[in-house]
Every structure is written in C-alpha cells, then in structure tokens.
Symmetry: C2
Subunit: 443 residues, 2 copies
C-alpha cells in the first residue's frame, strides 16, 4: 500500500492497496454499510476509518476485484480528506491491523507487468506519461502505453523466430546435412528485419527530443543582446510548460514549449569566458551549459560579428551540438557579412519570424510528431535494438562466410534476447529493479 | 470542477465535478463501455478521455448521483495519471466541451452547506481537518464535523426560542397585559443558558490551543544554554508533526508535538536585545517572537539568575504570555535562589522531567483532550457566543429593571441570531465568502 496522490495538502488524498490481503486489511479498519469483502468490483462505499471506536476520517473506499484492476490483483483505493497527517495515520493503522506493507516505488506498475497486464515498454510509458512536460511528449508516451512500440517489437521478434527456427531445425537434423532455408532467402529476410530495426533506431534522435526536450545555450560577447533574445523567445512561446515543484531554478534558466517540444533555455548572459579568478565558478558553469547543449545560439553584434576565440572554444567544448549564428541589432544598419545563419533585430523584431522557424526546424530535426507511428524514446530500448542489429549483422557475415549453422543459431538467439528484453520477457531482475525504482511511490 | 488532489507529480490525480451539468460534460469527452449518464451511483468506469479521436489519458470515472454525494448534487471524480500537464489538459478539454466552469476555493463544501447536507460549523471543520497538524487537533475537528458543537448550539437555540416565544406571544396580546411566563422563571432559564454558553466560551482557551497550537519563545542572555534546551526538547518529542510544504522556515524554528499539542519553538538564541545598528533587524525579529508568544521560556544561568532589564522588557512586549523562569546549569552547583520556576541541567538532564511536565501543563492549561465534549476552537464561533452572551445579559438587566417586553424580545432576537450565525442559518454572504475563500481549490 502507498499514498497515490502527490504529498501535501489538497481536497483529497488517495491511498492504494493491492494484493489478496487488501480487502481483509481494509475490512479491519473500515466501518460502513457493508463489509468490503461483500462489495462488487468497481463500486464505491462511504464509511469511517475507525481506531478503537474513534473515527479517524470518513472516507470513500473504491473496490477493484482481480483481474479487473491496474495490477490485475484485488485492489482498494481509499479517498480521504487531503491532509498528510490523516494519510499517514490511516496507512500506519492499516499496516498495524493487516497483512500489508508499504509499497516500493513503482511496485503497482511492476505487479501489473509481472501479472502480464502490460509489457515492459508499457510499464515504462506509465512513468513517461506522469513525467511528461509537454503535450507532444505526452502523446509519444501514450502511444507507447497503447502498445505501438510493443507491437512492432513483437512482430520483429516473430519474424526473427520464424527464420531462426529453420536453422534450429537444421541443427536438430545436423547429421543429415539438409538446408531447410536457402541461404539467399535467409540473407534477404535478415536484411528486411535490419531495415525495420534501422527505422526504429533512426526514430530515436527525434524520440529523445520529444521525450526529454532539448537544451539550448545562448552565448556571445557582452552586450550583443543575449538577454533580450531570451526574453523575446519566452514571450513568443505561448504554450505553457507545466511547472514541476522542485525544479532547480539555479541552473535552468527558463523552459518553454515550441510546438510541444520542451526547450530549456540556458542564458550565459553576464558570465564571460574569462580567466579572472573571481569569475571562475561562473565561467565553469557557463562551460557546463555549453557542454550539455543540444543547440547553441551564438549571438554576435551586427557590426562586430563572432569572436574567433569564442567560436573555437564553443567547438572544443561541444563538438556535436548544432551552432546557429545570429547577428543581432540590424536596426543599427548592416555593413558586413559574417557567415551568419540569421540576421535579426530583437528591438524591431526584424528577422525574428525566420529565426523562430529556423529554431523550430533545428529543434525538431525531422518535422512535427503527428503520425501514429512507433518511435523509440528510451535509451534502454535503443540499446537493445542496437544489440539486435549487431547480432543480425554478425549473422549476415556468418552466412556470407559460410560458417556453420551453430554460429548462425547463436547470432539469432542473441538478437532474439535483445528484442525480448525490450518488452520485458527475458529482462534481468536488476534491470527491472532499476526501471521501477525510478517510479514514484504509489504508482 | 477542479483538481482535488495536491498539485505536483504523483501516481494519480483526481479531478472533481459537481452539479447537474457534470454528467453530460464528462460524457462529451469520455469513451468507455457505457455512457456515464447510464451508470449507477457509486460505480467506477474505466475508459479514455478523448479529444478528436486522440486519447489524452485512460482514466477511472467515479459516479455519484444526487443526493448521495459530497455536495448532494450529481458529482463525478476522474482519476487520471498523476501529471499536472494531464490534469490541466483534461480540465480545459472538459470546460471547452461542456457547460461547466472552474470551481472557486471551497465551492464543493459551500455547495454541501447550501444544499443543507452539513451546517456551517461542519463546513468549517472540513478545512480544519485538512489543515490539522497533530492528532489532537484532528480529533477536535472531527468531533466538530461529527456535529458535536452544532448539536449543542442547536439545543441552546431551541431553549432560547422556547423562552422567547412566551415573550413574543405576550407582545401579540399586548393590550391584554398578560404575563405568560413568570419573570423569576424567565430569569433562571436565561441563567441556565448563560451557564452553558459560559462553558463553551471557557473551552475556547483550550480549543484554540488544540486547533492552532502554541508559540513558545526561548529567551535569555547569551550562553545560558537556550540552544541546547531547544535541542533537548526536539529530541524528547517523539511524536512527529506532519510537514507541510511551503511553511516558512525563516521565522519558525522548529515544530514539535507534545501529547498531540502543536508547539512552535522559536529560538531567539544569538539575537541579543541590543541597540547595535547592525543587529537591529535581528532584534526586531526577536521582539516579534516575544510579542507573539503564548509561553515564554526565560532561561538564566544558575549563578547569575535573570537579568532585570530583560525581565522588564519581556513584560512590556507581552503582558499576557505566561513566563516560565528556568535556571540552567545546576551541574555547576547551586548557590542562590532567583525565584525560578524550574532548576535544570540540560547537560546532565537533571530536573528535565519536572520541566517537561510543567511545560505540558502550561501548554494544555486544562488537561488532555480525550473526552468527547464539544469544544470551541474557532474565533468566529467564539465571537458569536460572546454576542449571544452579551444580549442575554442585557435581557437579564431588562427583566430586573422591569423594562417592557419589546426590549426583552429584541435582546432575545439578537441572541438567537448570534447562535444561528454559528451554524450558518442567518450568516451574511460576506462572512460565508470569507470562510470558504480560505479553503483550498477542489474542496
């Protein structure tokens, strides 16, 4: 059992129990018109939580009977007055009077997975849904919960099992040395599977962006207009990013949502890239910002351009981020070209439409996410797909170099296991624990 | 409609709707096995919240049909994945597609009151329950929600109406000049009522403590052991006070619970009562602490005693708080007496048992709250009772001075109104608004 609603004061709190002992445990402390054990599934019962004849709270008890619950087990939800004190008191009262214990983080979802109500990608999607900060990331997670990715992986795996079973069969009859599938056919079937895996792997660049958003660093010499650019971007993004308590406002400057993509804007304004002893900490923070950026907005003055030393330093700090060069202050007149990507004036809004379009394109890389296609958003899934890809490529080599079927079977098995790991069929306990420990308590 | 669970990330969030439009509004966006309008009361329905064929979230919808709900109206609770983004999205979706609006703070409870499901003291108890910080204050609020105070007030009012109706009747037959109730009997009946009101008024000293706790300031010259006394008290109080996010830790030093009484310990250690310009702000804060204290622990050194200047200043700042004089460091040997209340050594724990007992007694004033008797915890109720008392005393005077029945009737009416105000029968709109505006949204 666990508190399922966020901690703190609200109108109501919900306490959740799951497992065969839930119903007896609630009946030990609940006093209503009927016993909960006599209640039908999906019904709600008003009554009191009572300790030694004293009412602790009047509550609503919701009953879910196996297998029609989130966990596929008997489950109970107790809706209490929204005070942390009451929730705490009722939880300890139930634990003292029943065969129940506090749930671990993610334990309800883990049970849903272990009871085969959902597979592992769906369980992971539950956490992604809860942590979604923009509507686009929410949509991606919803599609994953709906089984869009699972069904692709399951079908890939079936196709793989289909070809590998020929090889397994050949090994069973090894003494007779028959070839049940022509090596050419086998080769092209593997290629087909590899193409599909490649497609999923390619979706990860975009999937990562929609799930986690991107970090954008705004850099440049002093007085080129970094802060006014930041403020302009903030004003332009009308979509609101939901605020999460506890976000460290020290390092993250501002979060905005561009077409549903979470963009974290890091302003390095005021922090110069200097070696001044006093500014050292500021400089190091500024460097970290650049190191972690996916996109760098390098702002220069329209008549001065981009300092070469800063250009070099940016590339040294971060070789993979895309750098967008922006010349600001066109209102002062443009006399030279500095190989900039955009010319703007934050003051007069000149060139800003083009800049915004360019930013969106750079952030999204592959266009907006509207189609209902499976997308890989999770590094674990990505790594499993890479493992499957590697082993299938090895299989191709095994075929072309005419190694024995034993090697081929081993390549196939490794690829199969990698795919099975994605949906949680052969996932090692420690990986499972790692996944569910990142859930919040009560989910 | 409103979010009913605390804001932030959790396993689930609950959105609540009430009123005749709730069920049509949910049916506009919900896709499940059946329409919610066909659902029976107190049942739960799994399905999707859908916008233009896109699933926003899969949810559980709980149905409560009038009059069997918190508000006595048709009500709906939607249990969603616990993300602020999802709750926000679903709320705006429902508002855009139905005849519903966002609820005002406390509006659900206000409707329960306006629909006569609960009276005003019970509505106020709901807020007290949610804000309870200790089990004793929770018990007090629960008893009030249970109607313990209401029933006393209702019975007082009935007795009052009973006697005043004789007077009203006398006025109706004024020309015949009959006395329907002997003035002696009337007098003693009023006295009985006054005694009961006095009992309720007296309970407020204690009621205020159990509802709001008490402020304890620890003061004394530097190095007398104020901080070590504070730490000792913290260690001794094993009962945990539930933590509320947002409590200003700047001014409140520590909160502990002694036998269920919330005690806010303010340490003035390090803040001297000096006129030093630099320390001025600290000194002013220290003075405020003393001004707001219900109890002052004045600590002195066993061989130095209590500085006269400080004693005088404490009394000037706060004339009503009880001051407990504590001589610390008895381990250094006791040579003099300083008219102290307690002699202790925090170091050796000498005398600490007696001090703790003394503190509890001072905090509670009237002993522990175990009995199930009505207690006034709310200043509004207290003020109404004072008004009733004043008018009944006026009535006594009217009787003894033989004024006409008109005056008497007017006194009775005023007293009746004061009592009716407590339970919300004649409470002005602005008072109601003031009460419910202090509720959280969603309750």
């Amino acid at each position: 059992m666990a508190l399922a609603t966020p901690p703190g004061i609200g109108a109501i709190s919900v306490i959740r129990l799951s497992g065969p002992n839930s119903i007896p445990a609630i009946d030990n402390v609940f006093s209503g018109k009927i016993k909960i054990k006599e209640a039908k599934s999906h019904t709600i019962h008003y009554g009191n939580i009572v300790e030694n004849d004293e009412i602790i709270d009047d509550v609503l008890v919701s009953v879910f009977k196996a297998p029609n619950s989130y966990t596929a087990e008997d489950s109970i939800e107790i809706s209490t007055h929204g005070s942390p004190l009451i929730a705490q008191k009722i939880i300890s009262l139930i634990i003292n009077n029943g065969e129940v214990r506090l749930a671990e983080p993610g334990e309800f979802t883990k049970r849903a997975f272990l009871n085969s109500r959902i597979d592992l990608t769906q369980a992971e999607a539950v956490a992604d849904i809860i942590n979604s900060r923009t509507l686009v990331s929410l949509r991606g997670a919803r599609n994953q919960l709906g089984g869009l990715l699972s069904s692709r992986v399951v079908s890939l795996r079936e196709r793989l099992v289909n070809v590998s079973s020929f090889i397994e069969l050949e090994l069973d009859f090894a003494e007779e040395d028959i070839e049940l599938i022509r090596r050419n056919d086998l080769y092209s079937k593997i290629i087909d599977i590899l193409v599909e895996i490649k497609g999923l792997l390619d979706s990860y660049t975009f999937g990562k962006v929609i799930r986690d958003g991107i970090n954008v660093a705004i850099v440049g010499e002093p007085n080129v207009g970094k802060s006014s650019l930041l403020n302009y971007l903030l004003k332009e993004s009308r979509a609101i990013v939901s605020e999460i308590p506890g976000t460290t406002r020290d390092t993250i400057k501002e979060e905005i949502s561009f077409d549903g993509i979470l963009i974290r804007l890091f302003d390095t304004a005021g922090i110069r890239f200097s070696e001044d002893e006093i500014e050292k900490e500021g400089v190091e923070r500024s460097r970290d910002t650049v190191r972690n950026a996916d996109l760098i907005l390098f702002v220069g003055d329209v008549n001065v351009g981009f300092a070469d030393s800063l250009s070099t330093e940016l590339r040294e700090l971060n070789s993979s981020a895309k750098i967008i060069k922006i010349l600001n202050k066109t209102d002062l007149g443009v006399n030279k070209t500095f190989f900039e990507d955009f010319k703007i004036s934050v003051k007069t809004a000149d060139g800003m439409t083009q800049l915004l379009e360019g930013l969106k394109k750079s952030a999204l890389s592959e266009g907006a996410y509207t189609e209902k296609d499976a997308i890989v958003t999770n590094i674990r899934h990505y790594n499993c797909l890479v493992k499957a890809e590697e082993n299938l490529k090895k299989a191709l080599k095994t075929i072309s170099e005419n190694y024995s079927g034993e090697f081929l079977a081993s390549d196939f098995r490794a690829a199969e296991i990698a795919l099975a790991e994605i949906i949680g069929e052969v996932t090692p306990e420690e990986i499972l624990n790692n996944i569910f420990s990142k859930f919040c308590i009560g989910k």
